[in-house]
């Protein structure tokens, strides 16, 4: 196991900067998820760790050694590909044992070791099959077995669960989580699924347009998103963002917006600084922190009902403030709400997130 470090790494494809000036380090034994929408540079970053892409500039270190221009075979890493990349002409035993074959292990040894790993992953009985003769879930575990069959410094995962159906994905996710904590391996995991990142990672690097927007623990990212982009990306459903007008009155911050009724918030220096450049602020409240309330209550937001989706244990109640500005609440309710009914959703002041006109988080009191 080893650490990984990026020192102002940039990767350009022509004029397009896929990754720009990225700095971060991954500690030994950490499970880091690179999270972001497609095209944000997360897969390119992973491929540069693997040596499948060469950075345009900057340095990459694995275990303290510079590997920026090293061939993938000389990095001693393991990688699970999104399409699994199982060799169609080899049976499972040969597929899993291939890394040992290129390391010059004897046939008996490498098949024995492959079988051990396959047994752990519950595909030991399929060793004679070809990849085309097994199910998608089994193919996924085969590619995982091939990565685990030899001791690597870092394990790289490129959206390994995205081709599985929902149930298998949950199962594989739990297994991966257990395996990583159990082995203490250093893992880097690329995903666009925030739930996967939250469930697996010890730290998440949220990426957007080739840059890391926030790099922190899942709970930190959930509780204190650094920007509106992170707030809107993490959470299911993501955080509600409401554009508001902020003014200072009597030592308090007063927020005004369509359908919004709020008591003043305590002023801080940070809020003062934000207001100094623009009165346009963004108010963020997570869907799980909203509840149904009577019309006109303080700290509430009211608008006609857009949709009420019953998910079983909870409902997603969405109201429409006009021009597509919608607010969704996750609530436990059996109430019969009708489309276009006026609905009020309330929240407590401690659950309020504030962002300035640039979308940057304004630290709350005590942050």
């Amino acid at each position: 196991m080893a650490s990984v470090e990026f020192k102002s790494v940039t990767k350009s494809f022509g004029d397009f900067k896929a990754v720009s000036e990225v700095n971060f380090n991954i500690g030994d034994g950490e499970f880091v998820c690179l999270l972001g929408p497609s095209g944000c540079g997360k897969t390119t970053s992973l491929r540069m760790m693997a040596g499948l892409e060469t950075p345009t500039s900057g340095q990459i270190l694995i275990g303290g050694d510079e590997v920026t221009h090293l061939h993938p075979k000389d990095r001693n890493i393991a990688m699970v590909f999104q399409d699994y990349a199982l060799y169609p002409h080899m049976n499972l035993a040969d597929n899993i044992a291939y890394p040992l074959k290129v390391r010059g292990e004897a046939v008996a040894n490498r098949h024995g070791r492959a079988r051990e790993v396959a047994d752990v992953l519950k595909i030991g009985h399929l060793m004679d099959r070809l990849p085309s003769q097994i199910s998608g879930g089994q193919q996924q575990r085969t590619s995982l077995a091939r990565a685990l069959v030899y001791p690597a410094k870092v394990y790289l995962f490129d959206e390994p669960l995205s081709n599985l159906d929902a149930k298998l994905r949950l199962e594989a996710r739990g297994f991966l989580n257990h395996l990583q904590r159990d082995m203490g391996m250093t893992a880097v995991y690329v995903t666009h699924d925030q739930a996967e990142a939250m469930a697996l990672a010890t730290r998440i690097a949220v990426m957007d347009q080739g840059k890391i927007v926030q790099y922190a623990s899942p709970i930190e990212i959930y509780r204190r998103p650094a920007t509106t982009f992170v707030a809107n990306f993490v959470g299911n459903p993501p955080m509600n963002l409401v554009e508001v007008d902020g003014t200072q009155a009597g030592g308090q911050l007063v927020l005004k917006g369509e359908g919004l009724a709020m008591a003043g918030l305590p002023m801080t220096d940070a809020i003062g600084n934000a207001l100094a450049s623009s009165s346009k602020l963004t108010l963020g409240v997570r869907p799980e922190h909203l509840s149904l309330t009577a019309a006109g209550a303080t700290n509430s937001i009211s608008a006609p009902l857009f949709a009420n989706e019953n998910m079983g244990p909870e409902s997603l109640v969405t109201i429409d403030r006009g021009e597509g500005a919608r607010v969704t609440a996750r609530i436990f309710t059996d109430d019969h709400l009708h489309v276009s009914d006026q609905v009020s959703l309330s929240f407590s002041a401690e659950h309020v997130h504030l962002f300035d006109a640039m979308g940057k988080r304004i630290p709350a009191v005590g942050e």
């Binding site: 693997a50 499948l52 061939h71 075979k73 990095r75 393991a78 002409h89 290129v102 390391r103």
Partner: protein, 276 residues
């Protein structure tokens, strides 16, 4: 059957016409199957009476004819190995690496390839081979065919390799394989069906070609079967039908056998691009 009378006769007329066209195409094939076994074969179609192998005995007694089959085999096999190996490596490089203008290169080569093995370039080819001092050798024929067939073979194979995910070789290299190991262990087996298509296609092309060996070879010891068939004509230019028929059948068997073998072993697949 609730056909109206005109529709009924229309259908009969159509079937009759189709049968007639079918017969036109079937008759030469039938002749091709019957004549070799007929000691008195003529240009006309006749059922052998009695069936005999005497024509084959005569053909195999003719050392020139047998040598020609062997020559065909050498030239076709040599050409296939050269085309197969060079096209595989070139197509792999064109598909996987970022050579600037690689698309243009392939298309220009493709354009010129039809010229190289075509009759238009016969004089320059003759001069080049002559200047190279390899006139009247198998190598001359093999090289000329390789030059003519390579671009199309590369084109077919590049298309094929483009459709294979890069992640195969990438996963091999991450697992510790060198690029050469990744190519032989992983890429080559996966692109084998494409190579087989190219191999069969070039074998058939060389095996059946007349003009190039006829021009580039001088001595009868080097002539392939396609040219040797020409020797089953009397001095006056009339064909010796019995021998011609038997030899033609033998001559076509390797190609048929190759097709059967390949379709049994690999199944035939053409991927995009050109079907020659």
């Amino acid at each position: 059957m609730n056909l109206t009378i005109p529709a009924f006769f229309g259908r009969i007329a159509f079937s009759a016409l189709a049968a007639l066209i079918g017969a036109v195409f079937a008759l030469p094939l039938l002749w091709f199957l019957f004549a070799p076994f007929n000691a008195q074969a003529q240009m006309g179609l006749a059922v052998p009476d009695p069936w005999t192998l005497s024509n084959f005995v005569t053909v195999f007694g003719n050392s020139y004819a047998v040598q020609a089959l062997w020559n065909s085999f050498i030239q076709a096999t040599g050409g296939v190995i050269l085309v197969g190996a060079a096209a595989t490596l070139a197509a792999y490089a064109l598909s996987r690496s970022s050579v600037p203008g690689k698309g243009a290169v392939t298309y220009v080569l493709l354009l010129f390839s039809s010229v190289v093995s075509g009759s238009a370039a016969m004089v320059p080819i003759f001069l080049i081979i002559s200047a190279a001092g390899i006139m009247d050798t198998h190598v001359a024929v093999i090289l000329t065919f390789a030059g003519g067939l390579l671009p199309t073979a590369m084109f077919i194979l590049r298309d094929f390799i483009d459709s294979i995910p890069k992640s195969y070789e990438e996963s091999a290299m991450v697992a510790g394989a060198s690029p050469v190991q990744a190519f032989f262990d992983v890429a080559l087996p996966v692109i084998r069906p494409g190579i087989v298509v190219v191999v069969v296609w070039s074998f058939v092309n060389i095996w059946g070609s007349f003009l190039i060996p006829f021009v580039l070879l001088r001595s009868s010891d080097n002539m392939p079967a396609s040219v040797a068939i020409y020797s089953f004509y009397s001095e006056a230019g009339t064909p010796i039908v019995t021998l011609l028929a038997a030899y033609s059948l033998i001559y076509s068997l390797p190609v048929v056998a190759l097709y059967l073998f390949v379709s049994w072993k690999f199944g035939f697949r053409f991927f995009g691009g050109i079907k020659a």
